[in-house]
């Protein structure tokens, strides 16, 4: 995706012409935009992995021509880590400021807090509490008083649906500070359109990919979620000349046994047949 530069080093992303949302979510986003004109606003986007939550944030910034800054919360293990840390500079220890303080002080900036429920340590989010509260400011010894600029929108994304895999839940006190909007996978017709336009597969290939994805989704015993992101990966592989089997093997991200069950189910229930063989060759030139 192309991005255009803005004056202060943050970027306004390019509009994705094939990004679709439900009219309800579109209406919500419109309201959030209006509220952000009065004061900064926090939005929590909840949905299954790969359903397009991050793309929604990017598209919101692109459509409204706003700069976007994305931060991975999953890597945080200490409070204050978002803001900066000490480093040596010319033999002296100095505090090195990260992008986050700059982003929150940039008017109308869209700040994406990715996977807000997965910090390495729960206390790592403590500094965010006051940023996200009505105060919209935080004091740091190293940086002084940081105030959230007008028009800033905080988008936090949260994966749901993996409750049994030990995903940390969002602290209720933190959750309390957000408007919440939920997302789900796109309907098949929309997925087919997105697949064709974004990956370059034919309509028939797109339809076949969706049929296969649906048969995997329908088989609860397999326990394999096929997200929109995975469908796009399947499409990319097929558009690059791969077979359906190659696309499934490389895109499903599951263990060997489950993958074998998925392929078996497609083979027997969908009649997918591909006679092939594996040989071993020298890989010494492209």
């Amino acid at each position: 995706m192309k991005i255009s530069s803005s004056a202060n080093g943050l970027f306004v992303p390019e509009v994705d012409p094939y990004y679709y949302v439900s009219t309800e979510n579109q209406s919500f986003l419109d309201k959030f935009s209006k509220i952000s004109k009065k004061h900064p606003v926090n939005v929590l986007v909840v949905g299954k992995q790969g359903c397009g939550k991050s793309s929604l944030v990017r598209q919101y910034a692109a459509v409204n021509r706003l700069p976007l800054a994305t931060f991975q919360i999953g890597i945080l293990s200490e409070p204050g880590q978002l803001f900066g840390e000490y480093a040596l500079e010319n033999g002296e220890t100095r505090y090195k400021q990260f992008l986050f303080p700059q982003a929150i002080q940039t008017p109308n900036c869209v700040i994406h807090l990715e996977e807000i429920n997965r910090p390495e340590h729960p206390k790592a989010l403590n500094m965010l509490f006051s940023i996200l509260s009505d105060d919209r400011q935080v004091w740091m010894d190293e940086l002084g008083l940081l105030q959230v600029a007008p028009g800033v929108v905080f988008f936090a994304t949260l994966n749901e649906g993996a409750e049994f895999v030990g995903t940390e839940l969002l602290d209720p006190a933190l959750r309390d500070r957000f408007y919440v909007t939920t997302m789900d996978f796109l309907p098949n017709e929309v997925e087919i359109e997105v697949l064709e336009k974004k990956t370059g597969v034919t309509h028939e290939q797109a339809r076949e990919i969706i049929t296969v994805a649906n048969s995997i989704r329908a088989n609860a015993d397999l326990g394999v979620d096929v997200s929109t992101r995975k469908i796009l990966m399947l499409g990319e592989m097929i558009a690059a000349g791969g077979t359906l089997r190659e696309a499934i093997v490389t895109s499903l991200q599951t263990d060997k046994k489950t993958l074998e069950s998925v392929l078996l189910s497609l083979h027997v229930n969908q009649g997918k047949v591909e006679k092939s063989k594996t040989e071993y060759v020298q890989y010494i030139a492209a």
Binding site: L88, F164, P172, L264, G271, K272, V273, S276, K277
Partner: protein, 579 residues
């Protein structure tokens, strides 16, 4: 027994540029992912894959094993044709899958029962018995191959059919023989091209035309007779709704056909083994060699049998003897077995409760600080400051990790008293939420449920592969046996076990809980019991059984506090016993 049959293509410099594995091409390459180059492991993986595929054929295929492995009423497959190269090439996998498909369909369609019914009906004279068996086998093979042809399984059946036919035709005696005629008919009648059999057989080989004369003069008429049943076998019979109807249909079909065909083949030998038509020529070298090879393979499988059985997913393992050896009251021990028949559970995790429970469980963990040192930014690590003027790597990152440092096991009572939907819903909510909280700090924690099925206490692991599963609450409560079996089979050497038992009442079957408590105490297993939805009398019985290590949850919001108290009591008791 591994043979190197790999072909190597070399360049002028003598370097191998390509390895070609004969027999690698096959349909199974589409789905087969879980392979191994180690013979015993590969045999397990292939067997698991074949079992998986058999589930698409029908419910009553039964267990599938390699011949040489001991299991009553199992479908035993002879692995001789596929042994030698590992991982087993796709072409050979296709063959084994094809053999399984044919045999599995015969089981599902009651072929053996039908053989006996037909034998009773036609009463073949002794001199025709061998021919009758051959006739029936090929007819049934045509029928099951026709069933396989309705799906991709037909490709595998075709591979197995071709292999069997080639193998048979290789050892033929001078024609005409019934074996040759039947196998030529099988090839045509079971072909995936449904019209092929109508063209009849033509022997166009040079050998056929010059050496032996065309076989058409012998086989045309009997094959036309045999062809008369193909449409009925392929279309009419499978359309019948029940397996017994299909059996009856084929019974009539084969009976009439046998009487018609017998007129044509009465004086032909079946094949070289037809002792009524052929003199005993003794075992020739080829047969002896084949038998020797089979014996060698069988010996290999027998050697591996225990290894393979141990590596296969456990099914209905019997723990009864194990338990009897650990209790004083062994006459009353109920039969205890493992089980893997489960359903996917609905998600009943209560998020608020989970949050509170996580804090409670965390209080029972040990905190560990993990440092990442020698970084170029972060927090200063004073002991590395001497490196400031050389590398500058004087910073560190500190991370806290919490670990229960125990082997934690949850055991849920899923017996009849829990069967009330409201009660089971609450129990599911409690154990799912509690287990999810524990899993956060003990990633290897395990979750089991026990119920009674067919007069046996069944123990089922209900958290597997990151998914919550469930069983139907049913039967009597053999808590003592369930606790001992679970404790025995989840122990980790060198790690203390914390066994949390969730129940709604006292044991009413089997050896009772006293022996279980004694077993746990003697083996450093801390047993905590949570009483859920208990009546007053049930509470008293549980207090009598478990003493101070039982708490009663009347409302789910009490769970964090009560579980916290239980954990504190357990830690106190552990410390006392250590002193």
């Amino acid at each position: 027994m591994t043979y190197d049959t790999t072909l190597r293509l070399m360049n002028d410099a003598g370097d191998v540029t390509r390895f070609v594995i004969p027999g690698e091409e096959g349909y199974s390459d589409f789905w087969r992912r879980d392979k191994s180059p180690i013979e015993s492991v590969e045999l397990v993986k292939l067997l698991v894959a074949i079992r998986k595929l058999s589930t698409f054929i029908g419910r009553n295929v039964g267990e599938i094993v390699w011949s040489g492995m001991e299991l009553d009423n199992a479908l035993a497959l002879d692995p001789t044709p596929i042994m030698g190269t590992y991982p087993v090439p796709a072409g050979k996998t296709d063959l084994m899958v094809g053999i399984m498909v044919q045999e599995a369909y015969k089981r599902v369609e009651w072929s053996e029962r039908l053989r006996e019914m037909l034998r009773q009906r036609v009463q073949p004279p002794t001199q025709y018995e061998y021919k009758f068996d051959m006739f029936f086998s090929v007819c049934e093979s045509v029928y099951v191959d026709g069933l396989a042809n309705t799906s991709v399984l037909g490709y595998y059946a075709e591979v197995a059919r071709d292999w069997r036919i080639v193998k048979t035709l290789k050892s033929l005696i001078k024609p005409p023989t019934l074996s040759e005629m039947l196998h030529l008919w099988w090839r045509l009648a079971a072909h995936r091209d449904p019209e092929l059999y109508k063209h009849g057989h033509s022997d166009l080989t040079l050998g056929g035309l010059v050496m032996r004369g065309s076989l058409d003069q012998y086989y045309r008429k009997p094959m036309e007779t045999m062809n008369s049943i193909v449409p009925a076998l392929r279309d009419d019979c499978p359309a019948l709704p029940s397996v017994s109807d299909r059996c009856d249909f084929r019974l009539d079909l084969y009976e009439n056909l046998w009487r018609e065909v017998l007129g044509h083949i009465r004086f032909w030998p079946g094949d070289r083994s037809d002792r009524f038509m052929m003199p005993d020529m003794g075992d020739d070298d080829e047969l002896a060699q084949e038998e020797a090879e089979q014996a060698a393979v069988k010996a290999t499988i027998v050697n591996y049998a225990n290894l393979i059985e141990a590596a296969l997913p456990q099914k209905n393992r019997d723990f009864t003897d194990q338990i009897k050896g650990n209790v004083a009251n062994f006459e009353n021990v109920a039969r205890v077995e493992g089980n893997d028949i489960v359903m996917l559970a609905r998600n009943r995790v209560d998020r608020q409760l989970l949050h509170k429970l996580e804090q409670v469980v965390r209080n029972a963990t040990d905190r560990r600080s993990v440092f990442n040192r020698g970084l170029s930014s972060g927090k200063i690590h004073s002991r590395r400051l001497y490196r400031a003027h050389t590398t500058g790597a004087v910073f560190q990152q500190k991370k806290h990790e919490f670990d229960m440092r125990k082997n934690v096991v949850l055991l849920v009572d899923a017996t009849g008293s829990m069967a009330d939907p409201t009660q089971w819903d609450q129990a599911e909510m409690i154990y799912q939420t509690l287990f999810t909280a524990i899993l956060e700090y003990a990633p290897n924690a395990r979750l089991f449920a026990y119920n009674e099925v067919r007069n046996a206490c069944r123990i089922t692991e209900i958290y597997r592969g990151g998914r919550m599963l469930t069983v139907l609450p049913h039967g009597r409560t053999a808590s003592g046996e369930a606790i001992i079996a679970t404790a025995m089979n989840t122990r980790i050497p060198g790690k203390k076990t914390l066994l949390v038992h969730i129940t709604d009442g006292a044991s009413n079957w089997g050896c009772g809980v006293a022996d279980a408590l004694k077993y746990c105490k003697g083996n450093s297993i801390s047993l905590l019991t949570l009483g859920v939805s208990c009546s007053l009398s049930a509470k008293q019985s549980l207090r009598d059984e478990y003493g101070s290590l039982v708490k009663f949850v009347d409302k789910s919001e009490q769970l964090p506090k009560l579980f916290g108290e239980l954990i504190v009591s357990e830690m106190r008791e552990s410390r006392t016993s250590q002193q």
